[in-house]
């Protein structure tokens, strides 16, 4: 079978496409000159500090602020009651999130009042003088408890649907603490189960984690005359602008959201966070205000969405996957934030890159009295892939088929539609699997207590195809690329500049790049879902084509009788080679002038079908397990970047390596925990992210088959490693020592307990099946 190639023009890429050119931000980042939002000061700028609720659920009877207002250096003390001219509710999926608590707090750590002062210490001192009288309410911090009858109702009135919800809700009655229900189903599951020889059914759990972007949330807001400027460490400036416009009743054009360098994002700097609050404080203070959260406050602003998962997969005795079912209970926290969309994505990502004739997946996003959740790299895919890939290994054991072979049997082929109406599959994962197996030495002898596994993933990548770009070619031939995509370290400013340089045949040094800025760069929906190279890359390609077309027209106007043809870096006018910029100056008849190219992407042409591409993962690991301590060490990782075309191979490899190490965290250590009403380890002493000493040997491989819809056949790949590494480590541990743990992270205690047939004493015991493999798990059919 051959790939169902998207019908777009194919040509061999011009330089510098495919070359690992130096990152544009390299010099400023190694000299300390790169300016982050955290580094910004404005004349007259004041500093804000927030008073946060100690209670998970309470009514606010009263707030006394008079003593705080009298403290030295205090410019303003603000509560929700002081903001009656502001629409306090925001939320792109559900408008349920007050920028500060209104009469009720819903999680321990929720902002209740703010002090704006001339310095951060003065603001902190004044916070101590605010008195809040709370009336405690029954609370619920566990998502399963929240679904019970009689559980405290967290939002007595359901929020309105937000403008960026992006999917249809499943019908039917629901518990008031369920903020959204997504379902994805096709085929006849009952018939598949009837025909099945082996059915694997179990429960799994993916933990609540924190991305730890190293620049904590920070924003600066400054009001002009009916206009607002906000500087923010954000991936989604245009979506923030939309929320600000609604909260403050401003036209979009009156709001400027400026993005500098971003100190880490990974999805957690997507959508709106502290920006409306900062703007509200600046409104009351009548001064520019900076709100800079600590890491501890940032954890309480946006942790990830954990999942309790029931899943069932049915196979024939030959290993053919017939059906998959799953039900995800996902703890979205006190406010919906992005959790409805994450639940929706989960339903599309659970089945993985496998052919199934029937599927039934439901995901519930649940309100609890815990910190709000947010997107985090690989959203929905990490949780779904964990359950799905563990089930494949469980099935392989019962079928007596090698786990890699079982995957090979069921992998989607290029051009197959994973479900009716979906974009045809655009990756050759069989070939990828062979590469990874070979590099990993799959099947070769291993030392005692070592194990290997290869896991795969597939996610509907690219989010929405709504982007625009401007490319300006100046009178000296230099170029300004204006893209709303945020440079958060992934290298987009380098890759997009490479595309512009390649398309216009100019040296890379001639291309300059503006940071994302809603008042300067044209609309881009978001930076996330690995969409920038594909979607913004197309917009820039089209803007460059628009420049070429305009300049050809201008050349024909200038020389109506001559033959005018395009050259790679200019036009041929009657055989004379004229560089682009000379056409510009000749046409204007002046020393100056410029041509502005426009590029738009919408759901049309190559971007008409959904998803925009399949973001696939194929990753192998070798682990060792210390039987004495239960400690798991990742010895080797083989990553594979199936990105169609690597515009800058070094940057793609960096995405794969960085994603793999990031994904090791929740596989081995990371888990945020609630005890009673509070998060008990929401700080970096107690929450350990991977360190240099965890670094295994890594082999990063790229597979470039030009099978994406993006420029030169590119497609996204920023989440390719982070999605499959969790289950790969868990399956490799099972391969090493014969215990299958269905709950991450695989802490030494849990592994040791499983090895010794005991129950881990690190908290509540859950039916997530920790124990010896023999004779447990699943039911035969």
């Amino acid at each position: 079978m051959t790939a169902d190639r998207p019908s777009m023009e194919r040509r061999s890429p011009p330089p510098p496409i495919g070359i690992s050119v130096e990152r544009r931000d390299a010099r400023v980042k190694v000299t300390g000159a790169a300016s982050f939002t955290a580094d910004l000061t404005l004349p007259g700028m004041c500093h804000a500090q927030l008073l946060r609720s100690p209670y998970a659920h309470a009514l606010i009877r009263s707030i006394r602020t008079d003593r705080a207002r009298a403290m030295p250096g205090v410019v303003a003390v603000v509560t929700a009651r002081d903001l009656d001219d502001v629409d306090l509710l925001y939320g792109h999926a559900i408008r349920d999130h007050p920028i500060m608590a209104i009469d009720r707090v819903r999680f321990a750590g929720e902002p209740v009042a703010a002090v704006v002062a001339t310095g951060p210490l003065e603001a902190a001192a004044a916070l101590q003088e605010i008195e809040v009288d709370y009336e405690e309410l029954p609370f619920v911090t566990d998502p399963m408890e929240a679904m019970r009858e009689g559980a405290p109702i967290i939002h007595p009135t359901a929020g309105e649907l937000g403008s960026q919800r992006g999917f249809a809700e499943a019908e039917g009655p629901r518990h008031p603490n369920v903020s959204s229900v997504s379902r994805h189903a096709f085929g006849d599951v009952a018939a598949a189960l009837d025909r099945a020889d082996v059915v694997v059914e179990n429960e799994y759990e993916y933990p609540m984690i924190y991305a730890y972007a190293m620049e904590p949330y920070v924003a600066v807001a400054s009001w002009g005359h009916r206009s607002l400027e906000v500087w923010a460490s954000t991936q989604h400036p245009f979506l923030i602008r939309e929320e600000l416009a609604r909260c403050f009743g401003l036209p979009l054009a009156a709001i400027s959201v400026h993005v500098g360098y971003i100190g880490g994002g990974y999805g957690t700097k997507g959508y709106t966070k502290i920006e409306p609050l900062t703007a509200a404080l600046a409104l009351r203070a009548r001064r520019p205000v900076r709100l800079a959260l600590t890491v501890e406050e940032s954890i309480l602003t946006a942790r990830s969405v954990p999942a309790r998962i029931w899943a069932r997969s049915a196979f024939t005795r030959d290993g053919v996957l017939l059906s998959r079912e799953a039900r995800f209970h996902m703890d979205g926290g006190a406010y919906a934030e992005n959790s409805p969309r994450i639940a929706f994505r989960t339903t599309r990502r659970f089945a993985g890159p496998y052919r199934v004739e029937a599927l039934d997946v439901e995901a519930l996003s649940i309100y609890t009295n815990t910190a709000p959740s947010s997107s985090y790299r690989g959203l929905g895919s990490r949780q779904g892939t964990f359950a799905g890939e563990l089930q494949l290994d469980e099935a392989a054991e019962r079928l007596g088929i090698d786990p890699v072979e079982l995957r090979r049997i069921n992998l989607l082929r290029p051009g197959e539609r994973p479900w009716p109406g979906a974009r045809p599959f655009d990756a050759d994962l069989r070939a990828d699997l062979d590469i990874v197996a070979e590099r990993l030495g799959y099947g070769s002898p291993l030392p005692a207590d070592h194990g290997r596994a290869i896991c795969l993933s597939s996610a509907d990548g690219g989010a929405e195809p709504t982007s625009s770009a401007l490319v300006r070619l100046h009178a000296d031939g230099s170029i300004t690329v204006m893209s709303g995509s945020a440079e958060m370290g992934q290298g987009s400013s380098t890759v997009l500049a490479q595309i512009a340089a390649g398309e216009l045949g100019v040296p890379l040094e001639c291309v300059h790049f503006l940071h994302s800025d809603t008042s300067l760069t044209p609309y881009d929906r978001s930076t996330g879902a690995s969409r920038t190279t594909t979607v913004m890359g197309l917009a820039i390609q089209r803007a460059a084509a628009d420049i070429r077309e305009q300049l050809l027209g201008w050349a024909r106007e200038l020389e109506p009788s001559a033959e005018v043809r395009a050259a790679p870096d200019g036009v041929l006018i009657g055989g004379e080679h004229v560089p682009w910029h000379e056409v510009v100056t000749r046409w204007f008849g002046a020393a100056g002038g410029e041509v502005v190219g426009r590029g738009y992407v919408r759901a049309d042409g190559v971007t008409a079908e959904s998803p925009l591409f399949w973001e696939v993962g194929c990753l192998g690991v070798e682990v060792s397990v210390d039987r004495e301590t239960g400690r798991v060490r990742v010895e080797r990782i083989v990553t594979l970047g199936d990105v169609g075309r690597a515009i800058n191979p070094q940057l793609v490899e960096q995405q794969d390596i960085g994603g793999a190490i990031m994904g090791m965290g929740p596989a081995l250590n990371e888990e945020l925990r609630y005890v009673e009403q509070s998060m008990v380890n929401g700080n970096l002493w107690d929450y350990r992210v991977p360190r240099t000493t965890d670094l295994p040997e890594i082999d990063a491989v790229l597979a470039e088959r030009e099978d994406g819809i993006g420029p030169y056949g590119a497609k996204g790949g920023g989440e390719a490693s982070v999605n499959p590494i969790g289950p790969a480590i868990a399956n490799a541990v099972a391969n090493a020592v014969g215990v299958r743990l269905r709950r991450l992270p695989l802490t030494p205690e849990r592994v040791w307990a499983a090895l010794n047939g005991e129950e881990a004493s690190d908290g509540e015991s859950r039916p997530t099946g920790e124990g010896q493999m023999d004779g447990e798990g699943g039911s035969g059919a």
Binding site: T31, G32, I657
Partner: protein
Amino acid sequence: MSRSISIGLEVNRRPIRLDVAPNETLAQTLRERLSLRGTKVSCDAQVCGTCTVLVDGRAVSSCTFLAADADGARITSIEGLAEPDAGRLARLQRAFVERAAFQCGYCTPGFLMSATALLAEIPNPTREQVIEYLEGNICRCTGYDAIVAAVLDAADEAADDGSDGRTA
């Protein structure tokens, strides 16, 4: 407000005198008083290594190091790492550029300062020594692989040139 303390110190080879608050951290002095914002603060609790600067050649977390304790000390921050006159990047900085040993770049100044201290102490470290030495610096983007490789590159290059690896 509390009394201030008068200190004299050398920052990136320039002598400076200033009055600091008793509770003022070196990171605050560098960032807020001297506008040297290349030094970043993340955890603000001596866990992540982001704010690392050199105090008399020793790598310290400036977020928890009191400015008053820097009296008489020689401080090097990321702004002082490049060769002072030519503005040429230090060997380590060049290695970081070549390996793309950063992504968002927020932790990069801290890594460069820690690695500078490492190479001053151990000019030809093994991979294990680099990994061990940099354990106190967190990076969330790169997965450390390129950083470790860049530090080894810089050490190799220094060994080839017979210099100490600290400057070009």
